[in-house]
């Protein structure tokens, strides 16, 4: 090859490279445009009354596992936790411990969504922070960013499939509570709330925060429950009474 050919080839190659770098830029505009409809009518929220929640009861946890095929490997390192029970004790002499469930708070300003490189974590039109598992690359940045440790990674695949109407876990992606969006879309309530009301302590209230006549809105007006780590400014949608 003469010098001219080599130079021409390299120039062409560089032009192709530069052109291909435009690809992400063009789809950048798409990324802004496509995240769900704006719905102002529904904003799901949950209130947990810790005075009613008892330490022995784990109805919400079992219901979630069965409903959503959340894996239990028998190894605490890898077990998935979409909702978990915690015992919280103030650091004072003789203080009583409170029992409460911890789950994804579906924040209005979710740090997990801010850091997701593929926008796999996004907020649906009704305020639910969802993970699009088809898009998740399993980078786990969101797990670092969540202040509530609400997310777990699927470390290995599992063959168990208790509920065949919903997907089972796919190895290599991150997952968390999504307020049983599939049930909400059918007009039902999340599995944990249903279990708590039917066979648990009745400590969970779920509903539409934007509806001033809903049970949850009335409860919030009367009882002023608080979110966890409100100082972070994330505006969580799961509020606790009695903490």
């Amino acid at each position: 090859m003469t010098d001219m050919d080599r130079r021409g080839f390299v120039k062409a190659g560089l032009a192709v490279l530069a052109g291909s770098a435009l690809g992400p830029g063009v789809t950048l505009f798409q990324a802004f445009a496509e995240d769900g409809r704006e719905s102002s009518k529904t904003r799901w929220g949950m209130v947990i009354d810790t005075n009613k929640c008892s330490e022995k009861c784990t109805e919400c946890v079992s219901a979630c596992r069965t409903e959503n095929n959340v894996p239990l490997f028998g190894e605490p390192k890898y077990d998935g936790h979409w909702i978990r029970k915690a015992a919280v004790t103030p650091d004072v002499e003789g203080a009583k411990s409170m029992s409460l469930p911890l789950l994804c708070n579906h924040c209005e300003h979710p740090p997990c969504q801010h850091v997701c490189p593929t926008a796999a974590t996004f907020t649906r039109h009704d305020g639910i922070v969802m993970i699009d598992k088809h898009r998740c690359i399993g980078c786990r940045y969101c797990m670092i960013a969540c202040p509530y440790k609400a997310r777990t990674f699927v470390f290995k695949s599992t063959e168990e499939w208790p509920n065949k109407d919903v997907p089972k876990r796919s190895k290599g992606v991150v997952e968390k509570c999504h307020f049983c969006a599939h049930r909400l879309d059918k007009g039902q309530i999340p599995a944990c709330v249903e279990a708590c009301t039917k066979s648990g302590d009745g400590a969970m209230i779920f509903g539409n925060l934007k509806d001033p006549q809903s049970d949850i809105s009335k409860y919030i007006r009367e009882n002023a429950p608080r979110g966890l780590r409100e100082d972070f400014g994330l505006k969580p949608k799961v509020l606790y009474k009695g903490v």
Binding site: V10, A21, H81, R84, T89, H114, R135, A145
Partner: protein, 396 residues
């Protein structure tokens, strides 16, 4: 004074082939480890739900730092006017590009779903530091290679312009890497506006140290003469960079330790005698800053090439420890969901998590690094990267 002549190394000695073989075996081990992580899931590693980022991420950010530092060394001649370092420019630029290729490989192979590699490029999230960094890293590799090409073509003006762009981009790249951690408000041990500049400081020190070692051994094993004065000068630069690194470590830890909310976390990290304290004091501070500084600053050892090499080796190891200290303790410490209260749960809330580097992760890390140097060694043989006449080309 002669013009610098570059030529490929012969690369047919037993030593060279043995080196290629060893690096090849280690690289294969690394790829096997990555394959196992992909097929069996991350349960083969030491990572857990409490500590989702392990040694692969440590290695990735370490390599990015080395790359940025090497690029600055490469640009000493074209951008900073130190013409005597022109002899190193090609090697340093190539190493910068290859190190970042290795870093990208470490990141992508660590994903749970690396086969979805195109997804972050076509559905990026402009607010995510990971996403922005992905764009920055890819562009940086292209810039480094174009910069290298300009050096091959000996277009001095273009070299200067591209060198400037590359240095600017390297600062952007590694500040971005620091921002990945510094922007996370959920973890007290990470959240800090100092993290991006302190990453740059660590990059400068580790990159310079790596270049000193690589240059010395590359020239020695290729049988070419190298002006030792150049390496000694790099050693002096390294000494200055170490002061900057020490400053950042000091300010960061003193600031954090001052606020009572952080007493517990800082005590855990610095004073509890566990493996993190050990890695912090012996690795990050001792090997990363203190011992090499002592070697470089005093007149008995500061001028001796052998001692400079040892100091560089200590820095290279110490900065790896620094990266480990950034990534792991912040995850091991529990998130404070109920500040001031005691928490117990099935998900180990409120308790310190456990993490050790597993064999798979160690092989992964060693494999990626070996692969980078394998490519470097091969490049020396097939491209005109190494100068033949350093002595004769010096300005008198």
């Amino acid at each position: 004074m002669e013009k610098i002549r570059y030529s490929a190394i012969k690369g047919d000695s037993n030593g060279y082939l043995a080196l290629l073989g060893a690096l090849g075996v280690l690289s294969l081990g690394g790829f096997w480890a990555a394959w196992t992580m992909f097929t069996d899931g991350h349960s083969v590693t030491g990572m857990t739900n409490a500590v989702p980022w392990g040694f692969p991420i440590v290695v990735a950010i370490y390599l990015i730092g080395l790359s940025a530092g090497s690029l600055v060394i490469s640009a000493l001649s074209s951008v900073f006017g130190k013409k005597e370092f022109k002899v190193f420019s090609r090697i340093a630029a190539l190493l910068a590009a290859l190190l970042l290729v290795g870093a990208l490989m470490a990141i992508i192979l660590d994903w749970g779903r690396p086969e979805r590699i195109l997804v972050p490029f076509f559905s990026m999230n402009p607010r995510s530091m990971f996403s922005l960094n992905g764009m920055l890293y890819s562009a940086y590799i292209v810039i480094c290679f174009v910069y290298l090409w300009a050096m091959f073509e000996e277009r001095e003006k273009l070299v200067k312009a591209l060198g400037l762009l590359a240095v600017f981009w390297a600062v952007l790249v590694h500040s971005g890497t620091g921002a990945i951690f510094g922007f996370v408000g959920a973890r007290e041990l990470l959240h800090s506006p100092l993290l991006p500049p302190s990453f740059i400081a660590a990059a400068l020190s580790s990159g310079t140290a790596l270049m000193i070692i690589v240059l010395h051994f590359s020239f020695k094993w290729a049988g070419r003469t190298l002006d030792e004065a150049l390496l000694r000068q790099l050693g002096r630069y390294l000494m200055v960079f170490l002061i900057v690194v020490a400053y950042f470590i000091f300010i960061e830890n003193v600031t954090r330790s001052y606020w009572p909310a952080n007493y517990e976390a800082q005590k855990f990290l610095l004073l509890s005698g566990n493996k993190y304290s050990l890695i912090f004091w012996v690795g990050m501070v001792g090997c990363g800053v203190a011992f090499p500084f002592v070697i470089l600053v005093n007149r008995f050892t500061g001028g001796s090439l052998k001692w400079i090499l040892w100091a560089s080796a200590l820095v290279v190891g110490g900065v790896l420890a620094e990266r480990y200290i950034i990534v792991i303790p912040a995850q091991v410490m529990p998130v404070e969901i109920f500040p001031g209260m005691k928490v117990v749960s099935d998900f180990q809330d409120g308790s310190v998590a456990d993490y050790s580097i597993s064999l798979v992760e160690a092989m992964f890390g060693a494999g990626i690094v070996s692969f980078v140097f394998l490519l470097y060694a091969l490049a020396l043989k097939f491209f005109e990267l190494m100068p033949e006449n350093v002595e004769e080309s010096r300005e008198r």
